[in-house]
Every structure is written in structure tokens, then in C-alpha cells.
Symmetry: C2
Subunit: 768 residues, 2 copies
């Protein structure tokens, strides 16, 4: 589907004109969230056309029983997946007893939907003519409060245009919902009680098996021409559903409004017996403030986020809209308030990938959160894995590892593996490396070493043990090899000596050893505690080093490049440019075996290693590898173009860098992969941020110093971004020809620009 | 479970004593079949304990909708699987209105079950004391007629021992049955009509989707003390069920007998509207002959099969029982009467593997059927694939091949692929080679070249085209390579240059070219027809030859062996002997990745190639490869020990050959793989036959001449077998020290024994 119905706009996503074909895509694009909950942009009123209804609560999941064609030893029994949560947004609307349903109206005109990213609200308005010929003007605004993250608010207005009408609002809450992707059509929610008091209603429900207790609640207020209206509602109650009906006779041209507050209280934040009480408290606050004041608070909260996280681009509205769309959705998904939460690949916008945590968090999201939030946010993300260490050890034990070796799951909610493709679950083990790399990256960026003796070293030890045990000695090569893996490029399965995997394995061991030594000398108490807890001996560490020192790396003397894996050069090396366009995307056109034996690369693999470990290679090395691998890369993963954009910027190939940037930043807005109706690609949005800041801006941290090599695509007049570096905020403004640096911190900061040291002082613009 | 409750016996499988824990295993072991239908040895009367009810009709299958965890492009939508057929064997028995149910009796004594392989019947007898304290003697005999293969017969007798009793027989037929392994709990059978006439009943049903029409029928006769008894039955009829109830007062010590005839008429043999009429005809014949005469016919028919197919072993009753068990079940499964049928891995004994056709037929079963039946039987098996050629071409097209390239399915019922593991479905392509090899093997053995110009060459062309397109050129190796395959050893997936696959690919091309040339010169009319139909040009054939001539084979100079695949020597080469026993079988103890990166071989792979193409290698070559690969082979496939037994015999390692023989011949009787309750391993039973005739007997056909190199395990006094070679029958009797040859044919036959030519004359014993 072509998504050019979305209007280019600097600050908003705007849809004009109603087309039922667009509904599912728009439901994804216009999704709203506040880190604690989120929803697809489903209509409040009934809609009988094709729709994908989805509301989600952070951290509330269900272990769906695994369903596979052919069981393999070691598969997890369950796949923890994000649950479709009870519905609290519903407001059915009846005009003279005819249900307002955009799919069934005679006419829908002036339809407009806006997701205002600057202020954090979703609005919709239209003029509809019903089958009964009543014409109504309808306008709705909805937001999920950042300040009170258990609360959402809806302002819903109907004006009968051509006749007086009896209008009924029927706000409801409903726990009788299911997941689109249930394996066995199981029921996931067990409703415990349905109750109401005056204009408030509550449904308590718990998830089956996982026993997450929730209370879904609502309260509504009615207005006629902005004046409060006291209507005694009818009540409709079933075992999983509660609705109030508010009925009023409305004269032609009068505005009948309902303001509905709703949301969830959950036992992650409250005692499970106090959820109704907590809901009352939320509603008391909401009612005290009222919709308008809450909305003012929402605008303020978003302005604070934008103040730090915004990236401006001048002269290219599509590029501007793209980056803001990415930053907006990242902030809707995760705000770093709770170390028990993480970032699902689709956030709160869909159910695919189960809403669980992947290595995306460590490889792509952490840099974004480090630079645009307080460093505690990134630290929370690291702690998430620390709390899962024991489960990672148990996961490795299931696969035959021992002695505290840890293999973090490919996909997880609670630390347990919940994926079931052998070539991924058992073999895409490089994920373990990203988790160690994130610890390094956090320290490199924040300078906060305390995390490593406190928590990180235990993780590093478990990971180093895994790699030591996972490598085997090849007599033929007289080196350690890592057999049977899937690298970041998932278009290769069960290969031997994936260069990226071997490289990060060696690096993980070296980094663990380096930190063991540092902590031994600098944090002796922690050292003793950790060595005792991990039962780690010097002899064992020596064995690790033996493996790291003798790791094998496939290399081509002819091409002077590291090979993605053993045997890569045996492939038919036909470039993507020479591949018939009718064959693309290959994952929709080719059978799996054909993809596997082709040279085509789904996402950066060797180049991902050059991104993580760029200091270990020269620019000439990078150029050679970029020239070798880029022509075979089909970028059929959302995580691919951003890395290539960064590398192209580094190599001064700005036209290519710009193309990759557009592709990553507008992946969903332009629906490159024809799947936006399933939800958005949240984690790759952080890659988009990196492609500007690290790509065009050339920002790195070297030896505790921020460095920049600013570049700019010729399509842009300028761009700017801010980063929070060690409690000081630096604003970078790049134009054609020069760059401004500005410091919001309190003390002078030495930075390096294009290799030259520069000192910037607080509130003093420096032009380079 | 330990199966040593099965008594060693030369001609029978005997179970003594009732143990409900044994029921499911015995249901498999005592299965009966007649090539057209078959059943697990379920009890006729109700049994409420753990049981796996299974009746099957040859060629009647259902396309079950595929269910996988992660869909891959190219997976078939449906998995055709053998259907659990309507039940006709049921006879519920009531003693004073208490249901006879061995799981609920107070006592079961003298329980004995016998599968008489010599005569082809199943018997069961026991003394049971019911909850009502009535003690009864029960004896049952059942067989599926070889002469009238739509008919089965049951003789069921009850004698009340300690009191008179009212005994009710309630014979029934039932089409309301399901499969144990349905993916979506679909209903497979659609019942069309339930009718009866006098003592006969009929249920017509068709399979959903595939529309196989069947009539399940029955008729019963009653006897008191062997005298016919005329009882007017009560009738019980539902939409999928019909039962007669025959009630009689039986004095203490009197024998009340029911003889039930039943079976299926199917639209493969009759017009779908004539199935009831056809059933009447079957029942008329059955009633005319009566149970006893039918049983005499059964014994005669089996004596004719045994006369040709029997292998005797003296001095080793377990070995004797093993080989007869194998030969018996092969003949129960497939008799070669219908080219539309084939041999499922579990025959009529279970549902696993869907009852479909695998490469087992070509690689293992054809030699058995060629030597023990008329050559038309093997020709029927070849024709089965010829009739599927167009589907094989379509299957290849789905995977991106073109121009008539054919890839036969891994698993099929009707020529369409119905398996769904990418590493098997798309990559275990060596199966295509076995189908070509069977054509070669058929001609080599029978001398009947006519099959190739008539049908076989078209198959060979499709297969050669596949290999030509599947190989790719490696610039690095300057050779053609075959990337991303699974060889016969399924403990390796997605490997490059599996030696067996590359070898058979090259061979297929060469063999196709050789036959094209031969047919051009010797069968010019066929040549013109086939070239026209296949649109094959000389230029294309030249391209094939280019690939075959430049095929790459991985080889180790150090070990002087071909490597199972690229990179095999990078593995940790720890032999099975050095592997902790607690880790076996690895397929139950290890996760899949660990199996894949280990050196352990599930079934003969390189050695399978040495078996197929032994003339191309010296005995020293074989010895080197055997010594290299055997120590890593775990034989966790039923198809493995037979090939190793043959190779060990060839290398004069008789102790090892004997061990492998026992393992293959008693695989199910001793339940090596802990899965006999799921059904028997039918196709590997043909491998058992090969391990005697080709292994110990050393039989080969070279240059149109039978050759032998007889050897004998020291545990045996002697063994004998017969083979049908080009319409003459040779009996070979090997003793310690000498071998007798005897010819049942009509003209002298030159054979070669231990390298020396010998002429044997009809009915003249020759001792060597």
C-alpha cells in the first residue's frame, strides 16, 4: 500500500480524507503511548470495517504455549508475549439510536486525523451522514498522560448539523478481549470483578498463568455547549464488560461532549488488593484537574522531552518529519522509569515479535537513551539484564553449558527464552556479545564505572564463560572456532565462524578479563565478593584467554577482507544491482534455501562489527569492507540501513548516507517493507537517531572526550541535535559550511572537532 | 520400556501375561495388514486403558493444514497424511451386562497373544474374572485376507467358566474417528449413509477435501458349541455408527462364538456409487467360504510368500525371529499390486511421518522387492515416481527452478511436497538422486531396459536438470559447488558440498547423458518423442556435463578420505566410544545446535555413497572411510545399521556386522529407539534383508551376472535365502565352511562366487 496519504509536516502526522483501506496502517502510525501503556489508534466508537484492535500495558505478558511443526530438544515450552489489554477507550455513539460507524455511514467528509508529536495528543474530526440522514460534526482528542501514567483522557464531541437528534454516548470498559496471534486460541484474561460507583466503573482482571492483576477503570463527564450536564446513566454490565449510557436530546448546531478518563492500575505499582482504591485516586486527580489542565500538563511534559531530544532539519520536511516520528515513538514506548521494563520491537503498536526484548535494546536503543535522557535510564536498561543473569545461566544449562556460563535469550519478557526457531534460538548467539558491549558503551559514554563492580562484572563473567565453552578447537586450523551459528545477517543459518560472532566473542573475553583486573586492583571488596559468588579462579580466566588469543577469523587474502563466515567466497557473487528487481524483496519472493545460498545480506553483519569496534580498524579497512559487503546487502531488516548510513557518512559518501537515512527514518511512514499495519519498527527508530548524530554528526566518545566530524547532506540547509554528555548538554547545529556548538552545562568542556581540540564554555556559541 | 516380554520364537511373535503397560507397544508389534489395509493390534472388545487405536486404508489420505511456528516461503500449505480409517473390528462383549474390558477386570490370567507370521494371523486368549465375578475363557483369531484384500475376518469365542451367563456380542462399525496427530483437530471423514440389511451393515463415508469414497461393512454369524445359532439382533444406529446386539444365555462351560467379517470397499477399485454392492459381493464370498476355509486360503497365500521371501537362520532364534518379523511386515505393507500405492515409513502400524512416501522406498525397499517378487513390483514402484514427474517439476518451480527441472518431494502422498522443515524440505535434496539410482538399480538387477525409454528417461532428464541448476560455480574453488544442503546424515543442516549429495548429483547427470545417448542410437522413436516432450537440446546437455565434469568434492589429504562436507575437520572429533553414555541418544539429550556442531552422524552418509557406488572405489578406500566415519556414527536413524552391517561384512569384520544386523533386525522387537508404541519402522526392514543378502551373502549384480561372497557370523550354524533373478530362482544356503547354491529356474545360470565363475543347473545342488 502506498502511504502518500500522510501529509508532510514538521511536527505532526496528518491524514486527510477517509479511506477504510488506510485504517489498519493509520492505527499503527497514529499509535499513542506513555511508557506505561499504549494503544493503536483505534476509533473510540464502533467500527465494523477491517481493524486491528490493540491496547497494551507495559510488562504485562502471557506465556503462550509454543506451537511448532517439528519440535527440537531445548525449545521453550512457552512464548511470553505482550497481551492485548482490556479496552478502556471505547465510547459507542448512537444518533437517534443508529450506531455511529464510519464503515457504514452514507458519507464521511472532512475526515482528518492528526498525531501532534510536539504536544503528545491524537485528534480526529469528520462530518458524517448516517443512514438515517442525520449529519453530524464529530471531533475527538485523546492522550495518554505522561505525568500520571496510569491515566488516559478522551474529549469527544458531536454536533448534529441538519436536525436535532437524540445522542447516546455509551462509554465502556471490556476485559473480554483476545490476542490476534494466540497459538491455541487460549483465553488470556481471567476477569475477577466488575463494579461501579456513581459515574465510575472498574473491572479487575488478572492474566492467566502469570497472574498480573490489573484494574481497568473509567469515569465520564458530559457537557452541552461546554456546560456540565448531569445525566443519570443506564448501566449495562456483564461478567467482562461494563457500560454507562448517557442519553441527551441535542438541538441542531449544539455540541454534546463527553470527556472520558480511563486507564489501568496494575500490581507492578500497587498491592493487588488496592487496585480499585488506586484507580479512585487517579480519577480523583483527573477530575480535580479536568481535561484541559491535564492537556496543558501533557504539552509541558512533551516540551521537556523535545527540549532535550529534538533533532531539527532545515530544508527537508520529509526528513524532519521522519526523525521526529522516530524520536516521538521511542519516547512513547520507553521512558526509563522502571528497570523491570524494556523496549519491544513494536512497542505498543502491535503484537508481532511478542512485544519482548531483543538485542535491539543493547545494540540500538541504549545510545539514544544515553544521549537524550539522564544516564540512569540507560543504567536501568543494563540492570534489566543483570536481574535476568540467573535465568540466562539456566538457559545456557539447558543447551549443555555449565559452571555459570550465561546465554541471554534471543527474545524474552522475564529472562526466559521464548523463541522457537533452532537456527535463531540456539544459534544466533552473538546477542550475548551485544549485552556485554552495552556495558562497555555505557561506561565509555557516561564515565560511570560504578556499574561494573556493582553489577556489570557478573554479567561479563557469565558471558565470557559462555564464549569460552562455546568455542571449540579445530585441529585442522590450529585455532579456536565457533561452529554452527547465525550471525546478525539472518539470511545465513548454521554457518561456521561468522566473523562478527567470533570477533565479539574474543572481545567479550578480553573485556571481562580487563575488568576483572581493574576491579581487583581498584575495588578489592567488590572483587572478593564477585569472585566468591562466581566461583571464578585465575586458572579458569587463563583458559578463557587461551581461547580469545587463538580465535580464528576467516579472511580473504585476495580481497583483503574478513569473510562474513567460512565459505562466503564459494557463493555466486552477483550484486544486488545485478539482481532482477522482480525478485525483490527476496524474503517475499524466494524460498528459504535460495536465500541462504545467495550472497545477499539481510542486515549489516561484518559492517556491524566495524561499527561497534571501529577503533580497531582503519578507514581504509572500513572502505574495503563497505565496498565488498554493501553491494550484497538487501536491507530487508529494519536494523540495517542505519548502520550503513553511519558507515557511508564516515566514508564521506553523503548521497548514499542520505538515502539510507531516509530509508531508516521513513521506514514506517513510507511503509518500505509493506507491513506497517502490523505495527511500527520501534527499536530501529533509535538507529535513525544514530544515523544523524553518529553518522552525519560524526559524534563519538574517545578517551572521555566528545568528538565530532560534522557532515551534511546537500539536500539540507542545516540540522541540529542535543546530547547529554556527563550531565552537561551540548547543542550541535550543523549548516552547510560550518557548525555551531553550544553548551548548556556549567563548566567548560573540551571537545574535538575534526581532530582538533576545542573548548566550549557555558552559553557561549562556538562556530567551527 | 524393556520389551523382553516378547518370547523368542522362530515363526511367531508371542506375548504372555497381561500388562497394560505393554498394550501400546504390542499394538504396534502385532499389527496386521494385507497391502490394501492394515491395523494396529487393537482389541476387538472395549479397552479403557492406554491404547492407540489405528486402522488404515492404503492410499486414503487427507491434506492436513500445515501448522508451523515460523512460516517460510515455499512451505506447502498442506501435509497429506494417512488417515485413521473407520473401525470395522469392534465387537463389544457384555457378560451379564458388564462390559468385558481387560483394564477393569478383577483378574486376567493366561493372557497370550500370538502373531503367527508363517500363516498370517493374530490370536489372543485369556481367562478373565469380571467385577461381577463371572470367569470367562476368551479366545480370538483375526486376519486380513491376502486373497480378498477388502476382507478381514474375526473368530471370537467366550466360554463362561464358573456360572452360566448372558453374553452379548455387539459387533459394530464406526466412522466417527479422528487422527491422533491432527494439526487443527479437524474432522477428516464425512459420513454419507448408514444402512443395514439382515445381518449386514454398511457405512459409506468420504474423506473431506480428498473425496476418497469408502464403504465400511460387516456381517456376523453366531455359534453355540460350534453350531450355528439364529439370533435376531437389536440394532443401534447413529449418524456415524452402526451396531448389532446378539444376546444369548450360555451355560457354564459352553462356547459362544461370533465370527465377524468386515472391511472396506474403496473407490480406487470400484465406482463410488457401487461400493455397497461391492461390499455385498465380498461378504457373499466370505460367507460361502466361511471362516475356516478363508483361513486355509490365508495360510496358503502366506506359504507362497514365504516360499520365495523366507530367510532361515540356524542356531540363533533371536536373529531368525528378527528377519522373519521384518520380511513379514514388509509383505503386510506392500505387495506391489498397485502402482498408485507406496510404502510409508510406518506402514499400517501408526501415523507418524504421515504414512507417506520417502526416499526410503528407492534406497532401501526396491532391492528387497526386486529379489523376492516378480520384477513388475519394483517396476510399479518406479512408475509411482514417473506418474509424479509433473508434480516434481512444479515443486522445483516453487523453489525457483525452471525449464523442467524436477525435485521430488521429501515426503509425499500424491506427488506434492508435504513436509515443512526448511532444512529438510528445501535442502535434503539428495533424495532426487535416490530416485535416479533406483532406475539404474532396477535395470542392473532385472536387465529390463525397456523401462528407461518408456518412462525412466523423462525422470532422469528432470533430475539432471535440477542438479545442473542447483550447482553454482565457485570462483574461489574454480569448481561447481552445491551449497546449503542436508545430506542423509540429518544431524548436519545447511552444509556446503555434502560429498554424498555432490557425488550423486554428478552421477545423475552422467547417467542421464549415458541413457540419452543409448536411447538415441537404440530407441530412435522414443528418443524423438522424449526430446520433443522435454524440449531438450544438445547444448543444454553439454551444459550439464560441464557441471558434472567440474563438480567439487571435499577431500582430506591428511586422512585420505572424502569429507562428509566442507569444514568437517573443524569439528571436535571425539568418537562415540569416548562420549559419555549418559549423553545418548543425543537426539533426546542434546539441543539441536549441539548435535549440529558435533561430529556425530545419525545415519550412513559418506558410507551410503560407498554402498551405492561401490564399484567406483577400492576395498582399501572403503576401509579408510569406514574407519574414519564409523566411530562417529550414532545410528539414531533406523536406516543406518543396515548399511554399516553390509560394509562391515564386506570388510570381513563379522563381529561388527553381526551386531549391526541384530540392531537393524530387532530394532522394533527390542525397541532400541524407545518409540515402538508409535508404530514400526517398516522401510528400514528392507535394509535388514539387505544386510543378510548383500552383507553376509555378499550378493551383487555385475555385468548381468549374480555374484556372491558368502560370509557367516560365528554365532550362526547356517542361513539361507532365495532370490528371483531374471525369472529364475536361486536358493543360497550358507553354512560355516561352505555354501550351497540351488537353481529353481529352467536353464543353466552362470554366477560368480568369491570371484570364480560357476554354472548352476536347475535343481542341482552346487557346493562351494
Amino acid at each position: 500500500m502506498n502511504l502518500d496519504y500522510i501529509k508532510p509536516n514538521n511536527w505532526s502526522i496528518i491524514e486527510e480524507g477517509f479511506d477504510s483501506e488506510h485504517v489498519k496502517a493509520s492505527e499503527s502510525l497514529f499509535s499513542i503511548g506513555n511508557g506505561a501503556m499504549g494503544q493503536r489508534a483505534n476509533f473510540e466508537e464502533k467500527y465494523s470495517g477491517p481493524t486491528f484492535q490493540g491496547s497494551y500495558i507495559a510488562g504485562v505478558y502471557y506465556p503462550d504455549k509454543t506451537r511448532v511443526g517439528w519440535w527440537k530438544n531445548g525449545y521453550p515450552e512457552y512464548f511470553a508475549k505482550v497481551l492485548n489489554a482490556p479496552n478502556w477507550i471505547g465510547i459507542n455513539v448512537y444518533i437517534n439510536d443508529e450506531s455511529l460507524d464510519l464503515f457504514k455511514c452514507k458519507r464521511v467528509e472532512n475526515f482528518r486525523r492528526e498525531l501532534n508529536m510536539k504536544e503528545g495528543w491524537l485528534a480526529r474530526s469528520f462530518t458524517a451522514t448516517l443512514q438515517n440522514n442525520i449529519e453530524v460534526d464529530v471531533s475527538i482528542r485523546r492522550f495518554l498522560s505522561l505525568d500520571i501514567d496510569e491515566l488516559g483522557a478522551i474529549d469527544y464531541n458531536v454536533v448534529p448539523l441538519n436536525a436535532p437528534a437524540t445522542i447516546t454516548y455509551r462509554p465502556y470498559i471490556d476485559t473480554g478481549i483476545t490476542n490476534e496471534d494466540s497459538n491455541w486460541d487460549d483465553k488470556f484474561w481471567d476477569t475477577l470483578s466488575v463494579s461501579f460507583k456513581e459515574h465510575r466503573a472498574f473491572i479487575q482482571a488478572k492474566t492467566m498463568k502469570t497472574d498480573f492483576y490489573t484494574c481497568t477503570f473509567m469515569e465520564s463527564q458530559l457537557f452541552l455547549n461546554q456546560k456540565p450536564l448531569d445525566i443519570t446513566p443506564e448501566v449495562d454490565k456483564s461478567s467482562t464488560y461494563f457500560a454507562f449510557s448517557y442519553r441527551a436530546k441535542v438541538a441542531q448546531g449544539e455540541e454534546f461532549k463527553i470527556q472520558k478518563f480511563g486507564g489501568y492500575t496494575v500490581d507492578r505499582n500497587h498491592d493487588k488488593y488496592d487496585l480499585v482504591t488506586a484507580a479512585h485516586t487517579v480519577l480523583d486527580t483527573a477530575k480535580d484537574q479536568g481535561f484541559d489542565l491535564l492537556l496543558e500538563g501533557q504539552k509541558l511534559a512533551w516540551s521537556q522531552i523535545w527540549d532535550m531530544a529534538d533533532i531539527t532539519i532545515e530544508g527537508d520536511v520529509r526528513a524532519q518529519q521522519g526523525i521526529r516520528f522516530n524520536i516521538f515513538h521511542l519516547n512513547q514506548t520507553y521512558l526509563g522509569k522502571d528497570a523491570r521494563l524494556n523496549i519491544g520491537p513494536k512497542g505498543f503498536t502491535g503484537e508481532k515479535y511478542g512485544g519482548s526484548t531483543y538485542w535491539d535494546t543493547e545494540a540500538y536503543c541504549i545510545p539514544f537513551y544515553m544521549a537524550t535522557k539522564d544516564q540512569n535510564v540507560a543504567r536501568s536498561l543494563l540492570e534489566y539484564r543483570y536481574y535476568h543473569l540467573q535465568k540466562a545461566i539456566e538457559n545456557a544449562e539447558k543447551l549443555g553449558f555449565k559452571n555459570g556460563a550465561a546465554l541471554y535469550p534471543m527474545v524474552t519478557m522475564n529472562g526466559e527464552e521464548c523463541h522457537n526457531e533452532w537456527e535463531i534460538t540456539f544459534e544466533e548467539i552473538h546477542r550475548n556479545g551485544a549485552i556485554a558491549f552495552a556495558i562497555y558503551n555505557y561506561y565509555r559514554y557516561t564515565g560511570d564505572y560504578s556499574y561494573i563492580p556493582e553489577k556489570g562484572l557478573e554479567v561479563l563473567i557469565g558471558i565470557a564463560r559462555f564464549w569460552h565453552q562455546r568455542a571449540t578447537f579445530s585441529t585442522a586450523k590450529n585455532k579456536y572456532v565457533i561452529l554452527g551459528v547465525t550471525g546478525p545477517n539472518e539470511y545465513e543459518n548454521n554457518v561456521n565462524n561468522n566473523w562478527y560472532t567470533n570477533y565479539i566473542a574474543k572481545w567479550c573475553i578480553n573485556y571481562a578479563v580487563e575488568n576483572i583486573e581493574k576491579i581487583q586492583s581498584e575495588y578489592p571488596t567488590d572483587y572478593t565478593r564477585i569472585m566468591h559468588k562466581a566461583k571464578l579462579s585465575k586458572a579458569e580466566v587463563k583458559d578463557w584467554v587461551e581461547v580469545a588469543d587463538n580465535m580464528y577469523f576467516p579472511y580473504s587474502e585476495d580481497h583483503k577482507v574478513f569473510l562474513q563466515q567460512d565459505g562466503f567466497l564459494d557463493k555466486e557473487l552477483i550484486t544486488v544491482a545485478d539482481l532482477d528487481k522482480s525478485q525483490r524483496p527476496i524474503n517475499q519472493k524466494w524460498s528459504w534455501d535460495r536465500i541462504l545460498r545467495s550472497p545477499y545480506i539481510k542486515q549489516a553483519d561484518t559492517l556491524q562489527g566495524f561499527y561497534f569496534f571501529e577503533d580497531n580498524f582503519t578507514t581504509e579497512d572500513l572502505e574495503r569492507h563497505f565496498d565488498f559487503y554493501e553491494p550484497f546487502t538487501v536491507h530487508e531488516s529494519s536494523l540495517s540501513p542505519c548502520v550503513h548510513s553511519i558507515q557511508a557518512s564516515k566514508l564521506n559518501r553523503m548521497e548514499q548516507a542520505y538515502e539510507f537515512y531516509l530509508r531508516t527514518s521513513r521506514l514506517d511512514l513510507d511503509d518500505y517493507n509493506h507491513e506497517v499495519h502490523e505495527g511500527l519498527h520501534i527499536t530501529s527508530m533509535a538507529g535513525t537517531w544514530m544515523s544523524i548524530v553518529e553518522g552525519f554528526g560524526g559524534m563519538r566518545v574517545k578517551n572521555d572526550t566528545l568528538t565530532f566530524e560534522p557532515k551534511i547532506p546537500e539536500q539540507w540547509e542545516g540540522y541540529s541535535f542535543k546530547v547529554n554528555f556527563r550531565h552537561q548538554i551540548i547543542k550541535v547545529n550543523v549548516c552547510q559550511g560550518h557548525t555551531h556548538f553550544e553548551l548548556e552545562g556549567k563548566q567548560d568542556l573540551k571537545i574535538i572537532v575534526n581532530g582538533k581540540p576545542i573548548t566550549i564554555s557555558p552559553n557561549n556559541l562556538v562556530k567551527v
